[in-house]
């Protein structure tokens, strides 16, 4: 499962652009062409030929995540359902699918986020025909028994347990719970503990969930590596062509504008460091606007390793152990944040003031042009650095098409990042990073018997 908040810098390395040198202005920024087709049933297929002799990545992005958990008491369901997708079909019942793909040398995984669920398979091109057959079969004919469903719910509980020792999960719950009152973003992707405990009783709902969201028009196939394009498309037509269904139109409730500052308080009873987080509601990262690009540049500008804040708080004054930004792209309006792990509770006010001061400077129009240029260079060079294997390319494409919806979302975002100006940063900060739009995380440590 991909975590969205608290120093989760995962996407900072994937939302990247290519070097500018010697490129004509309109040349693609991605270092490879992406071929896109859409089947009659609405299934979009993206392909990238990549020099990985004998190997390919076969990814499926389903545009569903915890955002789609609209019914009360069903939080965590998108993620749980991701687990169920490994359970089997009539043709490849319980365990048979895994055995077949494993024997052929395929490595599988999957993750779920707020907006997208991605299924990842990496392995030999030589077994392509079997892979297409097995993958199409599970998306079209998933079938599992109630006991198997109930057992898997326990494994999800185990996943919660493995994450629970780290305060990040509870902090995320606290921040989202305070910042959102209506939208489904108010819960984490893993879901509330009590909802996870109740999952075994949701067998019938799970079928509804599958019918609603696992439809061809709501999925994108991404194939990267060593393969014959015509052959792949022929196999896809054959196996995925008969897939029918339309995605449900159920949408989350729109979050009303925040009108006053909020606080998310959380106290921790075992030794750890206190944390501070400042979060603001920001617009959705639509491919039609520049908001997502501006937000990502602003995150690096305010809290990146070359920011004045980092230099002052982490390196010079040493009030903060870690400083980072929370600027993941989202399909609906979500949050932008700056997060700090405090070395001592006594530093809270000073650190909050410093972060607010840095934000105010940008909002007033003071933007360091050299730093802005460096950030854009960093993101440009980072593109090639982060796209070294079929899996990395497929992951980047899957995430961006999954969240943003457009097949060329990664390229579009990369271009928009390069077009971000100082004025854009100022306008964004001025409009969104305001006091009344802010939720502040106050994470304190209260160890019985005294913390070290």
């Amino acid at each position: 499962m991909r975590r969205v908040l608290w120093l989760s810098l995962l996407l900072a390395s994937s939302a990247l652009a290519a070097p500018k040198k010697a490129k004509p202005k309109d040349a693609p920024l991605l270092p490879f062409p992406v071929q896109a087709s859409t089947l009659k049933n609405g299934l979009t297929v993206l392909r990238v030929q990549f020099a990985s002799p004998g190997l390919l990545a076969w990814y499926t992005a389903v545009r569903v995540g915890s955002r789609n958990e609209v019914e009360a008491g069903h939080t965590g369901f998108a993620h749980f359902f991701e687990h169920m997708m490994f359970r089997g079909t009539k043709r490849f019942p319980e365990g048979a699918r895994g055995q077949l793909l494993g024997k052929l040398g395929f490595v599988e995984n999957a993750y779920t986020s707020d907006d997208v669920t991605v299924y990842q398979v990496n392995g030999p091109s030589s077994a392509l025909e079997t892979l297409v057959d097995v993958e199409a079969d599970r998306f079209m004919h998933l079938e599992y028994s109630e006991p198997a469903f109930q057992t898997e719910a326990k494994a999800v509980l185990g996943e919660y347990h493995k994450n629970a020792a780290n305060p990040a999960l509870k902090m995320e719950e606290a921040v989202l719970g305070a910042a959102f009152t209506q939208h489904t973003y108010r819960h984490t992707t893993l879901g509330f503990y009590e909802d996870i405990q109740a999952m075994p009783s949701r067998y019938e709902y799970s079928k509804t969930f599958f019918q609603r969201w696992y439809t061809p028009d709501n999925c994108v196939l991404i194939i990267v590596g060593d393969f014959d394009d015509a052959k792949v498309m022929e196999l896809i037509e054959k196996h995925y062509g008969p897939w029918q269904g339309k995605a449900a139109s159920t949408s989350p409730t729109v979050e009303p504008p925040q009108t006053a500052a909020r606080t998310a308080s959380l106290s921790w009873s075992t030794p750890t460091l206190p944390r501070l987080g400042l979060y603001w509601h920001v617009p959705a990262a639509s491919p039609k606007t520049s908001d997502g690009a501006v937000m990502q540049v602003l995150g690096a500008y305010l809290a990146g390793p070359t920011s004045p804040l980092y230099k002052a708080l982490v390196l010079e004054q040493q009030l903060v152990e870690r400083l980072g930004e929370s600027d993941d792209l989202h399909r609906d309006p979500h949050l932008f944040g700056v997060e700090a792990k405090l070395k001592d509770e006594a530093h809270r006010a000073a650190v909050e003031q410093a972060i607010a001061g840095a934000v105010a400077l940008v909002a007033k129009g003071t933007v360091d042009a050299k730093r802005l240029s460096d950030i854009k260079d960093h993101l440009r060079f980072g593109l090639l650095m982060g796209l070294e294997t079929p899996a990395q390319i497929a992951d980047a494409l899957a995430w961006h098409v999954g969240v943003l919806g457009a097949p060329d979302a990664l390229e579009t975002l990369a271009r928009k990042i390069q077009a971000v100006t100082a004025k854009d940063l100022t306008a964004f900060a001025k409009k969104h990073l305001t006091e009344k739009n802010r939720t502040t995380l106050v994470f304190t440590v209260d160890v019985k018997g005294g913390a070290k």
Binding site: G105, T151, G304
Partner: protein, 534 residues
Amino acid sequence: MSRHLTLASALLAAACATTPVEKPLPKDAAQITPDTLAELVARPPPPPVPVPYTPLPKVEPMALVLVPVPGKPIVSVRLVFRAGSVDDPPGKEGLTALTTRVLVEGGTASLSSSQLLEALYPMAAELSGDTDKEFTTLAGRVHVERLPRFLEIISEVLLAPRFDPKELARLQAEQLSAIRTRLRGENDEELGKAGLDALLYPRHPYGHFTGGTEKGLEAITLDDVKAHWKSVFTQDRLIIGLAGGVDDALAQKVKQALRKLPATGVARAPLPPAPGVRGATLILQRDTLSTAGSFGFSTAMRRDQPGFFALMMTLSYFGEHRQEHGVLFQELRDKRGLNYGTYAYAQHFRQDGWSSIPLPNIARSEQDVSIWLRPVEAKHGLFATRGVLYFLDQLRNAPIPAHRFETARGFLIGATRQWVLTDQRRLGWAIDDVLYGTPDFLGHLRKALETITPEQVQATAKRELAPELLNFVFVTKDAEGLQAALVSQAPTPISYSTSKPAELLSTDKRIATTPLPLHPGLIRVVPASEFMRE
């Protein structure tokens, strides 16, 4: 203060916790009666059996490992030093890891720490350091357009560190915080793994956490760091790896620049053999929802030894890391829903970042076999542990189903190809081949796997994986309750809220009474807050 339980207090706990067996056990289940329990407790602890090892092969100073990828616009640099936490002087535990961080993050003669970040940032250049038990890796990546400046920076990082006292203070505080908060309080699974190192290697340089101990770190001064830099970051301990858009000329240039490192420093004292602890238990007590487990033992089997390929296949079949087809995953998670996964390893394992791929260049002269039981609801902790033991017994004694074996074998052959797709990983494995003296290890492994049989796997399990070799680490809240249960060996039946096949329930009865091959006199309870204090 840590509580080292004596045999007497263990006996007392046993007396309180023995519970009557309500239902007759299956005929083939091990019977734990008061008599056999008394016998078990009275028995002296099994003596440790030191595990011999041969030193890793010698490597020529500044050996070059090149993996050119023609036309690739990115260059990867991987500098692997034979310097690790085993080189930490007694009382200064954590010095190698801290010195590495001071080099990589603390600035150079011409660049302060913030200027170093500013220099690397626009290039999106990566530079990181990682210290393990015996080796430290400095890894860097840069676009070929920015290579000259990047190489200048790397050279300065190694040859002219800034040794800024303020940076030392910052990094020292962070490393202390990593022990006091992150290790002890935020990740039960990593805590369990560090606990297993401590349990397997008492009074041995492998025993302390690679990040150090609280007391050791507190004692480190800037002069210690300077001296350690000269002692262990030397030519004779270095292997130079380059991959991507590289050629011989570049390699010679890099080698020439690094000739300014001291030719030699302090010789590493030979490592003592692993003590060969068996049947010992460490319970790390902390306020947590669940019980996490790490089990294992020291082994003489290393990847350069005959028979290692079979051992790797055996542990992969039993519990391949984060893969559904492993026996432990199938039985404990898929069928019983006990946890998120349980895995088994033929050699010391660390995952590479967010991937599920093994991290290279953590070579160890002395290896361990381990099993990672991911957090289980505390009430089922002991049942799950017995599950591991029961299926280990099955692996050693029951027929191995052909179809499951074929899946595990096919998977391992295919997965090893995924382990080397990035230049850093290719380099890492190529460097490991030099460190262990195993040219093209993965190629030979794949070839060996083609002909391996289930019978060979079973024979390997019988020979190499005796349950009485195992040691146990648990991270849990009710340490005393767990200790009492371990001592009593009382059955730990399980019930499910969901329906289960009769065959599974029958197996569960056997699992619930599987003997725990641990000795009551070798159980230690330590509050997590005390772990790695000194």
